[in-house]
Structures are given as C-alpha cells and as structure tokens.
Subunit: 343 residues, 4 copies
C-alpha cells in the first residue's frame, strides 16, 4: 500500500509498505479522507512539537475516516463496506485513568501521528474496532474525518459545562475556535463571541453564526464584552488561540463564578495569571485535553444537521500532492485542508 | 381594575378591585398575556388539586407577561414601559433551600394562583422586580408569558443533564411534553421520541420535530425504542404525562446507567416501580419540581430563535370571555389557550 | 488444588482441580481469606437468585484476598509475596460503559461466583493483575477480603454524594448496612441513623457508632426521624434492607431536595412508590449497583484506621468445614462469617 | 456599649457607642468570643488590604460568637439565651448569585470588618437571625467563633471535591492550612501532606495529624510528593499560603486529572503559571472565595468531635488589651489569638 512518510522537515516520501493485517479485535480500514491538523503542519515544519521530536520517519494524519475492508475475529460490530470515523488515540484500558473513564489521560495511549506511532496518511490502517465508529448514510466520509476536531470542541464545551442560554466567548477563530462555535451552539449557548487578530477569520466566524466577533488587535475586548453582556461577562470562556495575551484576557471577560477552559497550547512555557481574580471571583480554570467519549455524539450532531463542519474545509488534495497541500496549509489564513486517499 | 375571580368551580366573576401599589422592591405590571395552564383548568373544574383546596375566591393565572407601569423605590433595574415576564413563585429568601439556590423548594414560596395566593388574570399585578424579567424587542409578550411552561422544560432537562447527542424520550405530547421537546433540542439532544395516546398530538409533535412519535395505546413502546436506539434505550426519559402506565414504562426504555426525570403529576397516589431495574441498571430517578433560575435562559433561547413556543398556542381569548376560554381549554385535544388582558 | 464446589443446594464438594496458570496480564493468587456473602448463602440455599440459576457445579465466594505466587509476563506491577485484595468483577474494557468509567455496568462483566463464572473458595485463583490490589502492611488479609462489602458502602455513599455534616439514614443493620455506616462516617456524615427489626443488630449498630438506631417493627420511623432531625429529615437515605416497607419509608424520611440510594435487592418485583413525593420534594432516587473504582479508597481507609471492618466478623472457618460454615451463616442474626483457605 | 475601633494603623480606641436595636429579622447578640484573623492583623498593620482602604474608623473582627439577648419580631427561630455563631457576610438575597446559591459571590454582600462595614470587636452586634447559628451544648462559644475559619476549610474541600481515600496536599501550615487539614480529614482524605517554611509549624501540623509535613525551604516538594504517593501526585492540592513559589508548585505535585484549589491571597498581582501543565494534565484550577452554606456543617462536625479547632488557639485576651493582642498576633509563628468580650 502507499503511505506518505515524513522523512524530514518539509519532506514527505511516498513509500510502499505492506498492508497491515487486522488483529483479532481490529478492523482493516481503507482510508478515504484525512484532515490536515495544525499539529501535522507543525511536525512538517519543525520536526517536533515541544519536547516531542520526530526522530524516525513518521506517518502523519489523525483526522481520518474510511471504509472497512476486513475484520478481526472478535470485531463483530462492523463489517466490510461500513464507513467509519477513526478515533486516533487508543488507551491501555487498564490503568486507573482508563478505569475511571478518563482514558484520554492514559499515559500509555497510542495516538496516531505522535512519535513513535504512525498516523493515517496511508491507504490502509488497522485499528481497534471499538475506536472505529460506523457512519450512517446521513454523514459523509469527510464529516467522519472532521469528527476529530469537532470532538475537541465537544469535549471543551463539556468541560466548561456549556448549557442552554449561556454566553460563551471563544478566543481564536481558527479551525478549533470554529469547532468551539459549532459545539457551543449545539449545547444551547445563545450568545457566542469569537476573537481573533485577522479580520477575514472574524468575518468568516460571523458568517458561521458568531453573535459578536472582536478583533483584539484593534479593539478592547473587556470593553466589548462588558457592553455586549451588559457588564456580566461571559459564562464560559474557551481559550483556543494559545496566544499569551488571549490566555491572560480570559480572566477579565469571564462572569464572576464563571469558567475558563484552556485548550490552545501556549507558545511560551508560562503565562502570568492574576491569581486574585481567580480567587475573588471564584473562577474555574480548567484544562481541556483532546477528548473522550465524543465520537458518538459528534456523529449524532452531524447526522442531525445540528453542526456544520464541511463548511470550514478550504481545499482538498491527494496523497500524491501532499507536499503541496502542506505548504498551502502553512498559510495561517487557510482554515482547513483535507487529503483524499485512494479511489 | 378588573380581575377574574374563580368564585366556585366553573364560575369566574369579573370584579373591580383596587389597583395595587408596588412595595419598595416591586414593580406594578399591567398584565398583557396570561397562559391557561392545566392546573388552572383543574382548579376551575374541581375547585382543588389533591389536598390543595380553593376555599376562598381565587384569582387564577401564573403564566404571565405585561408592561411595567410603576416601580418601587428600590426597583431600579426596571422602568415604566419595559415589557416583562413574571416568574410566579417568590420564595422567602432566608431558609436553607433559598440559601442553597433551591429557592423553588422554599416551603414559604408565594406562588401565583395557588391558594391563598392570587394569580394574574387581572389588569394589574404588583410583583418583586427581581422576579420580573425584561423582554428584549426580539421576544413577544406572548412568548414572555410562555416562559413559564418553557421553564418547566428547561428545568427538567437540566435535572436530567440532557446534553449534545443525547437520545431523549418524552412521555406525553401535551403542552409540557412539547416544551420538553423544545428544551431538549436546545440542550443538544439529537434524537427525541415523544409518546401519547392521541394521534393528533403525535402528528403535531412530529411536525414540531420529534424524530419518533409513538402511540402507546397501539404500539409496544419498549419494542419501538429498542428498534430506534438499536437496543440501547434512551439516555434520558422525561415523564410528562402523569399516567401510571407511562411512569412505569420509563424504567423499560431507559439506557443502563441512564436517567428518568419525573414531571407529570400522577393521578394516583402510588405507582408500582420495579426496584430491581433501578438498582441493577443503576438508574437515576429524579423528581423535577417547577423550576429555578430558568427565566433568563428561556428569554435568551426565545430571542435566539432556538426554541418556538408560540406555535403551540391554539386560541386566544379575553378576560371578558374567560369562562368560555376555560370551557374550551377543558378539551384534552386543545394544546394551549391564552387570555389577553387590557388594551 | 482443593476447591469447594456447590454441586447442589446445601451441598459443597471438595474437589481437586488443576491449579490455573496465569495469563499474560494475570497474577496467580494463593487465596487466604474469603468472606461469606448473603448472595453466596442464597445460592447455597436456593440454587438460584431470581432469574440467575446455578445449573452447573459452581465455585462460590467473591470477597477474597490472598498472596501472589506467580505473575504473567505483562503483570509487572505485582510480584510473588505481595498480598492482594481481589476485585471480583472484570469487565470487557471495550464497551461504552467501560469507556465512560462505568465498568461495573458492563454487560459482559465476568463476576466471581455468578454463573457461569467460578468464585474464590479455592486454593488458587488466576486473576487480572489490575483487579488485584496490593495490601500495605497496615492492612490485614481479612480486611483485604472485606474490601468487597466495604466497596458496596463506599459506592453507595458516592452515589448519594454523602459529605461533611450530613445526616444519613441507613435502613437495615446487616453487614451491608454496617458497611454503609462505616463509609458514611468516613465521608464526613456526622449523624447516622440505622434501622432494623432485630434489637441485637440495632444494639450492635449503636456500639459501632450509630447516633440513632430505630427498631421499625416497634417504632414509627418518620416520627423518630422528625424528632431527631428537628423536622428536616435525612440528607441522604440509603436503603440496604431490601424490605418493601423500608423501601417505601425512604420517601418519608428524606429531606426535601434530598437523595435516596437504593442498594438492597427487594424480595418482590415491584414496590409501590409515592411519585408525588418524588416530584414535589424534588428527590433523587438512585440505584446503586455493586461498585467501581473503590478498592484503592477502601484500602486507604483501612490503612488509615478511618473504618473498621474486622469488628463485624463473627466467626471464621475453613474450606474443609465450609458446609457447617454456610449452615451457620444462614442464621439471620449472624453478621459475617469468613473462610480461611490454605496454610 | 464598648467597642474597639481601629482609628489608624496600630491604634485601637475603646469607644462607647449606643447599643444597636435589632431590626425585625435580626437578633441582638452579646458578643463573647472573636478570633483574630490575618486580615484583621493586616488592616491593623497597614490600614488596607490591596485596594480596600480603611478610610474611616473601623471595627474589626468577623470570627465571632455570642449570646442572643433580644430578637426582632420575625426572628422567631432564636430566643434570648441561645448561644450563636455569626456568619459574617450577609448578601442582598436578590441578585442572580444569591438566587443561584452563590450568595458569597453577591456583589452587595455586607461583610463584617470590611470597609465600610463594622465587625464584631464590640459588646453587642445586631445581625440577621438566619446568619446566626444556634450552638448546641456540645459546642463551645470559642468553637462557635472558629466556625468562620473552619468554614474556609470546608468550602475549599467542597470546591476540590475532597472525598474518601483522597491524598490532599495543603501548602501553608498557618491557621487556614490547619483548618484545611481538619476539613480534609473530615471529608475522608486519608493522606494529608502539609508544607511550610517554618519547622515549628510543620511539627505542629504533624502533631495534629498531617501524614507528611515538608519544609519547602529545605526540601524538594515534588520529589517528596512523588516518593510519598508512589509517583501519582496528590488528588487535590489546596494552596493556603499565598506564596508565589507555592502557587506555582501546585501544578507539579497534583495528579494528572486532579484539582488545585487556590485559597491563599498572593502577595503579588500575577503568578506565572505553566499553562501546558494545566492543559496536558487536564487540571482543574479552582478559586475558592470565603464560603457559603458551611456553618451548619461546621457546627455538626464540631459537635461530633470530627474536627478540633480549639487546639489551634494560642492565646486569649480581652477588648481592653486588644492592642497588645494584635501586636502579639503579628508574630508569624503565632497560630491563633482570640479576644474575649464582655462578662
């Protein structure tokens, strides 16, 4: 089978590799669509993310969907021909995190496209059947691939306990910020504010239903939020930009007693926090890491039409053109690219 | 001012009463719209609900909205001309329930149209300003009145922790069941099943977006749910019919580890429950009583267009014709009637 | 190895069976102490519990602790010589219940001494290493075996969210009721009421720290609770008797807005519940099924001296005398018997 | 009546003031015991805490208990002779925080000894009856006064959801840290670690039951915690020191998926936080502000003997000697001083 392997920064190599055989609990999936995530692009550019270094050739890609072509003997819930979305992180199933339902915090998780685990820019992937979610006819394979970033949004909204009538502020209007917009609205938020420093992204957010979009390079966010919420602040603030100034601003725009959810990975090690704000306003400042138990909900929301994810896809390419696709994805104004694999 | 007083079962009397003066924390409201609730109809027919007997002449009506015409000296958040929805139960603000945020469980709550407290079928009502919620221009006065039954739906969904992607089954497709449908969808439920024994009501529920509507007089609910959910059962079951057979059926159609919310008042004192089901499936069976802290969310949802409540209004009448309106409301196939007061 | 096999009601047979070899993730445990649970006694007497019938010879026993004598290749967290408590239910690790942390609700759980799965009245058991919890020197092997019933108490208290300063009422002063007493006190409950119909059991409960012990055959429980709590009722009521009258009484003695946890298996299929009480008082009526993620906490509490479980053991016997032990355990006034295995 | 008034930093003046009359919902309390809190000492020394400046003469003291001597007409739950603990912050009872049960976050709270509201270093105080909690005979008036700092501990443990079997690390072994120790143990924590930089305080914490006490001036906290918890970290970390280095260290010693509760007011505006730790380990970092709904639980715990607070009192003095008492309380090695008022 053909596989796109990152052999060094800025260089993929299309390799022929043996098609894997599914283990007893696995399904063999012919990959169809794979989203290009910011982390893929980061590995492509820099060969590392923080302390995680790509030392050996690595297959990127972890936002993927495809078609089942073979099943292991215990994998009875799926059959060839089923289209599936692949949840990319498979935990150990035995540690206390796994037993407590926090399998995403498992220290031994095998996560696609995180060294040393290969991802899905490949014609075939063998994957545990219970991490392959069958797509109904109402959900496209592209939507199946985008269950992954949508899951990040659903999980952050669950962490923040977003509910009906809430005002939610999301910092950063990139693909993750837009998924927060979708997930927050689906959870009942009625007032959703997005921020960014790029006017085009804010305009796009407005088109997609943001009630207020603030360019924090030009405008005073605290003043804008005070005006919009009539002084109360947002019930939940979701930080999806990773920018230090945005992280700091979360404490200024959240309602007393409200919740800040941190999702965006900061580009600096530490961020100065106003601890008095956290205590005096009795805030919840909550990290949100990947997701857990979100794929079924994501598929239900997509099937129901309650969220739209295809609208954020800006271009599609193929395995053969993956280098060009990644070069294009490096442009910060591009929201989302997708690689079509096979057929 | 004119007031419709229930003087005995099946008989209202239009009386002239002195217009109240607002206390220091109150607003005087010119009532505009008042919904006819099933409990109003029950008092009208029987002069009692269970142990609560109407002994003295009583003003009914507790789903109300109107216009502020005067304000007490401390009621600075509102001003004449503001349109407001009135939350009908005002608690003592001092007991442990109030202090813990469960003010709806306050034993000393003063609730409109519950003896000995008069309701709002009257030209004017004086009411605590913090229980009068200003309506934005995007929300009609009729919607303001219907914040009350919508609140019952919002509260039940909060009790049941309804969230994105959930399958929710609601027993009973009357006005409260339909509010559950609205509130559950707003909270992210993607599969909503309604039941009833009247085909017209089920058809109406389907029109309003129910994904499945089951006539439990004709069909086997457990089989229908098993088929629809592919054997899993509903994540949350909300009992809004009060029928003993429906109450019992909740335990059969809920997912293992799921939640049953009881809202509909049973017409019999006790219902035989299968306790082994509750234990072996580790169910949560939760009472849901009225609501608390729902009006702001209700108004936000209405303003956002996330819910539709006006569509359930079947007829409007006036104070002068209130007897006829109540006779009409007694027809079980009528979903909702409304009394317009003044101007 | 020697194993006590229930071949028909009231008859154990001591058989020689091959000592099991541990699988790669398992440890081989030389069993030392096994508690006699009410369910073991029920199988012994009747050959069935409800619909679960013992059709083939069955090894009973699921409250067990012992010493590791061999380890599978992946079972690196334990080593020969470690004393361990065995959690008796091992789930599939793959279904949605398992993934959500509710592994005790897994439909494919393999639970000791529940047909067709053998239990631990045997010299050796091979068991998954992650369901074998190492005991510190401060915790005896007997205490290790009693982690099982203590877990039932811890889980019920977690379900009921028992916390500091709570008043907790436990119906039934048998071994499970006494474990509720221990677990509730450890969780911060300051007022614990027990009920029973046997004066000796109530006296024992009082000795073990019950603040109030009510014989519900003689006294009016509602009146006693009203008096004790100064009319408020208990914050949490834990039903541990399985008696229909006790189950019904829970709704009368719980605080408005409070919680009822159902643990005791009723000896009748259905129990008439006053649904109006559940709704008007907005109660939580919660099933509590076995336990999950409790063994570490149980061991910590035992090691800390925060709970006492050995005090409820009334007699110890051996595998050779298991028939006599079970005959003795059938006496309802006996609180707890234990079988010592090996050495 | 005699009142100790802070007229300028380091100077109290004993004034004669008219004895207040209780309002209709109030009780008049003859004050008996008032704890000296760190905030009182801070006002005494500096005439301000952060932005809150003492501009007019102020009565300090907010940890108080006494005896009811008169009651307003609605204050029927208490009668003269009752001993009561006074909860020092009375909210507006009308804002959304109050309605949601977060009355401690009410912006209009009237809090004793916070300008411009006088405290309780006075012979008499008139106070709302529902914020005066009757003490049973089993709880001393001194314990009643210390319900206030104990409440800070109970609230922080509730915020952190401390439960049975938890490992809790508390930074700072001053009076608040010691109250955390009491409250955490009462809530079921079995392993409690305290830190400080003063050996005497750590020795005292050990005497009072800390399982591990670490001098963070000398020892590497992360290493000590790793060793003690066998690499897992603490389930809950409660920051009670306000020291910047301690605040930062919380993220290093907390379990993955665990909770950090911030209580101690930092002496610097901002603290550099490692945001990646919060996200990657999906931590909850929670502010804890004063307390709410804790007094009944505090009194129950004291009455039950589940906590000990009198043991932290180092000296008692009188209103007449209040200057000397405050000078003594300024010594950082003194844990707690108390002023006896009247009789």
């Amino acid at each position: 089978m053909r596989t796109a392997v990152l052999v060094e920064p800025h260089q993929f190599e299309l390799q022929d590799r043996p098609r894997p055989s599914p283990g007893p609990d696995d399904v063999l999936v012919a990959v169809r669509e794979v989203g290009i995530c910011g982390s893929d692009v980061h590995y492509y550019e820099h060969g590392r993310i923080g302390d995680i270094v790509v030392e050996d050739p690595l297959v990127l890609g972890h936002e993927s969907a495809g078609e089942v072509v073979d099943t292991g003997e215990n994998a009875t819930t799926l059959e060839p021909g089923d289209r599936v979305a692949l949840e990319p992180g498979v935990p150990c199933r035995r540690c206390s995190h796994c037993m407590e339902g926090d399998y995403h915090l498992c220290e031994d998780v095998r996560f696609m496209a995180t060294p040393p685990h290969d991802g899905s820019f490949s014609e075939y992937v063998s994957w545990p059947a219970d991490f392959a979610y069958k797509l109904p006819t109402t959900v496209s394979t592209t939507e199946g691939a985008l269950c992954e970033p949508l899951s990040v949004g659903i999980h952050a909204c669950r962490r923040g306990n977003v509910g009906t009538g809430d005002t939610v502020l999301v910092t950063g209007a990139g693909p993750i910020g837009l998924m927060m917009l979708e997930a927050a609205r689906a959870a009942g938020a009625t007032d959703i504010i997005l921020t960014d420093i790029v006017d085009e992204k804010l305009a796009f957010a407005r088109e997609r239903g943001a009630d207020l979009a603030v360019n924090v390079a030009d405008d005073d966010l605290e003043a804008a939020v005070t005006r919009y919420t009539d002084d109360g602040g947002a019930d939940v603030v979701i930080e999806a930009s990773g920018a230090v100034s945005s992280i700091q601003s979360t404490l200024e725009v959240v309602h007393r007693g409200g919740t800040v959810v941190l999702v965006g990975l900061a580009n600096e090690a530490t961020v100065p926090f106003d601890v008095l704000d956290i205590i005096d306003n009795e805030l919840d400042v909550l990290g949100s890491f990947r997701y857990k138990n979100t794929y079924s909900a994501a598929i239900d929301l997509l099937s129901d039409g309650a969220v739209d994810v295809e609208g954020i896809v800006e271009f599609e390419s193929t395995l053969a053109d993956i280098d060009d696709a990644f070069e294009r994805a490096m442009d910060p104004s591009v929201v989302k690219g997708l690689i079509t694999v096979g057929e």
